[in-house]
């Protein structure tokens, strides 16, 4: 981390960048938050550790409009989102100085809590330079330990790989953390009967409080004006007919990001209600892979997404009827 800070200071000092987009410590040991640093002095608050899950790509939409370049720290999986935003002309590559930061899997505080570890005062072992396989957690009830792996975010178990898809320079080691099948959960749901599926999603989505965190954090949800906020569409003001109708929000959102979602997992990470929102997107990704061949959004900045492209090999619309 110190190396990263030193480099950031250098780039600020020589005028290469006008600001640094990274993370600073939050009010708790496990909630660092995205932050801009405009002076060398301010970089003392810079942190980068296992809890820095936040994908900073989307912040570059606004940062692209600012004077000068912005140094942005991107983890391997964040670079897919950044590429996708370049493809959609939402960020300006020339305005970004990308440091590809190493990643050894990001942590999920909820997973630690689920192990009965409460009253957390401090956590060690989460530093990016730590080689520890175990987290040591000081709590008001004494010291607890937890395997790093057991505290990882779901998305890190299905990691897309340690390669940065776009960067100006690289810093720090990355680790392969994939140990699960990306589509296993989707397949389980696919195997359900329609009634079971409905019950499953009704149950999950009934927790939604419409805080919009999933939408606000999503790099694909980058519309200047979201249809759910616009008075041009009847969705913003419509009164609900039943309690489930509000949850259509998630279904519509999944359609809007279909083919553009890089599966960065931010929606599920930020959901205060713990809804596995990424499952919707992953179902779309699985279908797209099946129908149009393997496709990873954000792999590059030029290819046409399968849903906005036409080839003679495309499946016929009747596939929907055949599959039921």
């Amino acid at each position: 981390m110190q190396e990263l800070i030193n480099r950031a200071k250098e780039l600020l000092a020589d005028g290469t960048v006008a600001r640094v987009l990274g993370w600073k410590a939050g009010d708790l040991p496990y909630n660092p938050e995205p932050a801009y640093f405009e002076t060398e002095e301010s970089l003392k608050d810079f942190v980068y550790n296992g809890f820095c899950g936040a994908n900073l790509s989307k912040y570059m939409i606004e940062a692209s409009k600012l004077e000068g370049k912005t140094l942005v720290c991107l983890k391997p999986c964040d670079t897919y989102s950044f590429n996708q935003l370049i493809k959609e002309h939402r960020v300006d590559r020339e305005k970004a100085y990308i440091i590809g930061v190493g990643c050894k899997g990001k942590l999920d505080i909820e997973k630690i809590r689920k192990q009965g570890i409460k009253g957390i005062e401090s956590i060690s072992g989460a530093e990016i330079t730590d080689e520890a396989e175990t987290l040591t957690i000081q709590t008001i009830y004494g010291e607890k330990t937890c395997a790093y792996k057991d505290a990882m975010l779901e998305r890190c178990h299905v990691c897309k790989g340690k390669e940065h898809k776009i960067y100006d320079e690289l810093m720090g080691e990355s680790k392969e953390t994939k140990d699960a099948d990306r589509f296993a959960e989707v397949e389980k749901i696919e195997a359900m009967s329609p009634e079971e599926k409905f019950a499953f999603f009704q149950n999950e989505l009934s927790k939604c409080i419409r805080c919009n965190a999933c939408r606000n954090v999503c790099p694909a949800c980058s519309c200047r004006k979201c249809v759910f906020d616009s008075n041009k569409f009847d969705s913003a003001q419509k009164a609900n007919v039943d309690s489930f109708e509000e949850k259509m929000f998630h279904i519509i959102r999944a359609f809007h990001v279909a083919g553009r979602c890089t599966d960065c997992g931010e929606c599920s990470r930020v959901c205060p209600q713990g809804i596995p929102l990424h499952l919707f997107n992953r179902k779309f990704i699985k279908d797209i892979d099946t129908f149009y061949g393997e496709y990873q959004a954000g792999e590059d900045t030029t290819s046409k997404g399968p849903l906005t492209n036409f080839t003679f090999e495309d499946v016929e619309p009747s596939i929907v009827a055949e599959r039921g």
Binding site: K65, E88, H89, C223, R224, K225, S230, K232, V257, T308
Partner: protein, 662 residues
């Protein structure tokens, strides 16, 4: 609030027999915005139209819903009527209660219910309609014909005779197409070349016609009236201005073992060649893949013998960019490959040939100088078997589901000519059906049977087995006598199915003209607009649209020419105002719409916008309304809902759905 009039048509008994029109009037009158509702026997009649106009004037209608037949039928009629009464024509909507309702339902109560719902949906839409103004675009008075066969030549001649400039683009070194390969033509048995070559000469000599042979269409942009086309003139390696067409180069060329495409590979040609003696232009090309000079750098014989100094090894491909108002596709056909039909032993025996190969054999300029002989040993065949429907009317995926249409007639022609010229040769034809609709066609076929003694057997051939003695054993069935037949033959001729030229897919994609599952170009309307593509400004001539014989092709070529002339005769075109429009305050500039637009109608510009006080320069989508065909693909793809289709806005469609679901 709109003031809407609803007009319910009886269509004689077409609608009124199944739909209670009085009930539709009664219920429609209660819908929001409706101030007038009436029914009439024939709304499209002059009296019916007068009723609509009267109501518009007297009740100050701002919108009209006509519950009648399909909008394809009379939308234009009613819109014009409304316009004459002072209403914007795009304030008229049709509820199709005939094709969508009365014709497909039997129960009056149910059908009436549905008619009311359809009326309700149209009323809900009109409530959100806004007047639209069509724009104008200019017309370039020049036509492009893709394909230089008889279809393309005829269309070119007809358009040129009307006084417009025409360019023909032909892929091969000469115009003439398939017809130039044929020997005689049915049902008159006149020589194909004798009737085709004068037309070729006429086209070449016509002051309004410009022919690009050995050339291909590379890129098409633009829209009806204003297409821009890049044509690749492939390097001929022969200077067209200098060449005298003496032919010495072809005689002297040492590379002589190249399968002759014009003779279907039955003999060989040289590397520098003209496809046939009457080729237009009579200027050879060098086939660079097979030329020794191009392969090894040594040779140069043609250059040495050419008195005119026309050989130019350094010639490069040239791109010509030209503007056109209309494009006619006349890309023709080829016979299908027979690799899936091993049972006919086509690849095993030289004496199993296709009918097109027989045309070349029968032709005096062909590989056998017109003598009917076996390609294996040069002997005259005594027993000849024709097999019909090879790959046509095929229910599996080996062949084509359609009838190739020309085979029954040309097989009768071949059989008759052979019996006439070689009376001691027996001719047998295996057929599924003999199809001879056409002027003098059935008489022609009957002549083959009755006067020339051609043996027609109803039944299919299961297998052709080459025998050790060089003959062929044909195993077939006779469905009339209900027996299996084993027949010894010296030669078997396959009436091979025809398919559109494989290049048509590429061309259709460039033109955004639609093609069907068999790669035939689709018409704008199968019955009422058979020579127009659904893409405006694109016309269809010849077999690219469907199998047809020469007279039909020529007739269709003329029809396509008339349609093209009708377009070129206009100075300005009215554009459809139902085009996409982007709300620049909602647009993300993400390019999704441009990616899905099949017409290349969307571009982007950096524009200064004022978004509720925030002034900034944004990348926003801009629709070229002249290019936009109103398909709506962009409106579905746009993630932010910035793209909308005028006249079919998302709100209007949702209102229709809501009205139906109410």
């Amino acid at each position: 609030m709109q003031r809407i009039g609803v007009f319910v048509c009886h269509c004689g008994s077409n609608i009124a027999a199944t739909v209670d029109v009085k009930k539709v009037v009664e219920l429609a009158a209660k819908e929001p915005g409706v101030v007038h509702a009436e029914d009439y026997q024939y709304m499209c009649s002059e009296a019916g139209q007068a009723k609509i106009q009267e109501a518009i004037r007297e009740k100050n209608l701002t919108g009209v819903v006509v519950c009648s037949c399909s909008p394809r039928m009379h939308e234009a009629t009613f819109r014009k009527a409304a316009e004459r009464a002072g209403l914007n024509p795009y304030m008229v909507e049709i509820a199709n209660i005939r094709e969508h309702c009365s014709w497909i339902h039997k129960d009056m109560e149910e059908a009436t219910k549905k008619a009311v719902i359809l009326a309700r949906a149209a009323i809900a839409k009109v409530n959100l309609n806004a007047p639209l103004q069509p724009g104008e675009s200019r017309v370039t008075k020049r036509a492009l014909i893709i394909g230089g066969g008889i279809a393309g030549i005829q269309t070119a001649l007809d358009i040129a005779d009307a006084g417009y400039e025409v360019d023909i683009v032909e892929k091969t070194p000469s115009i003439g197409g398939r017809m130039s390969q044929l020997d005689k033509t049915f049902p008159t048995l006149d020589c194909s070349a004798c009737i085709l070559t004068p037309k070729m000469v006429e086209a070449a000599a016509h002051e309004k016609i410009n022919i690009y042979t050995y050339s291909e269409v590379e890129h098409v942009s633009g829209f009806v009236g204003d297409f821009t086309v890049d044509i690749r003139k492939k390097a001929r390696s022969v200077n067209m201005d200098k060449c005298t067409g003496c032919g010495v180069c072809q005689e002297k060329c040492p590379s002589k073992k190249i399968p002759n495409e014009f003779n279907r590979g039955l003999n060989n040609r040289t590397a520098i060649y003209t496809p046939f003696a009457q080729a237009i232009p009579n200027v050879p090309v060098i086939d660079r893949e097979n030329c020794i000079k191009f392969k090894t750098g040594k040779c140069g014989v043609c250059s040495k013998v050419c008195q005119a100094g026309a050989i130019d090894y350094d010639q490069q491909d040239e791109i010509v960019t030209q503007k056109y108002g209309a494009i006619v596709v006349a890309t023709g056909f080829d016979t299908i490959k027979l690799d899936k039909y091993d049972e006919y032993a086509y690849s095993q025996s030289k004496d199993v040939i296709t009918s097109l190969e027989l045309e070349r054999i029968m032709n005096a300029a062909g590989p056998t100088k017109g003598h009917l002989e076996r390609l294996s040993d040069g002997k005259a065949p005594k027993e000849l078997v024709f097999i019909q429907c090879v790959g046509s009317r095929c229910s599996d995926d080996r062949g084509k589901p359609y009838c190739s249409k020309i085979c029954c007639m040309y097989t009768a022609k071949h059989a008759m000519l052979i019996r006439d010229k070689y009376p001691d040769t027996n001719v047998t034809v295996f057929y599924i059906d003999v199809r001879t609709p056409g002027k003098n066609f059935d008489e022609f076929y009957r002549r083959a049977v009755e006067q020339y003694g051609v043996n027609y057997i109803k039944g299919q051939v299961g297998k052709v087995i080459p025998q050790p003695d060089g003959s062929l054993l044909v195993q077939g069935s006779d469905l009339i006598d209900n027996k299996q037949i084993l027949k010894k033959a010296d030669m078997v001729v396959l009436a091979t199915a025809i398919e559109p030229n494989p290049d048509v897919r590429k061309i259709a994609t460039m033109l955004t003209a639609s093609i069907d599952t068999n790669n035939f170009l689709t018409e704008a309307h199968a019955k009422l607009r058979p020579v127009e593509s659904p893409t405006a400004g694109i016309f269809l001539s010849g077999v690219c649209q469907g199998p047809k014989d020469i007279p039909e092709t020529v007739a269709q070529a003329g029809a396509a020419a008339v349609k093209a002339i009708g377009l070129l005769a206009k100075d300005k075109l009215t554009t459809n105002p139902c085009t996409a429009k982007s709300d620049e305050l909602l647009c993300n500039g993400c390019s999704t719409c441009a990616n899905v637009c099949p017409y290349g109608a969307i571009s982007y510009e950096d524009k200064e916008v004022n978004d509720h006080g925030i002034r900034e320069t944004r990348r926003v989508a801009v629709v070229n309304t002249a290019l936009c065909q109103g398909c709506g693909a962009c409106t579905v793809a746009c993630p932010s809902g910035a793209m909308d289709l005028q006249g079919f806005s998302n709100r209007q469609i949702i209102a229709e759905v809501d009205a139906i679901c109410r």
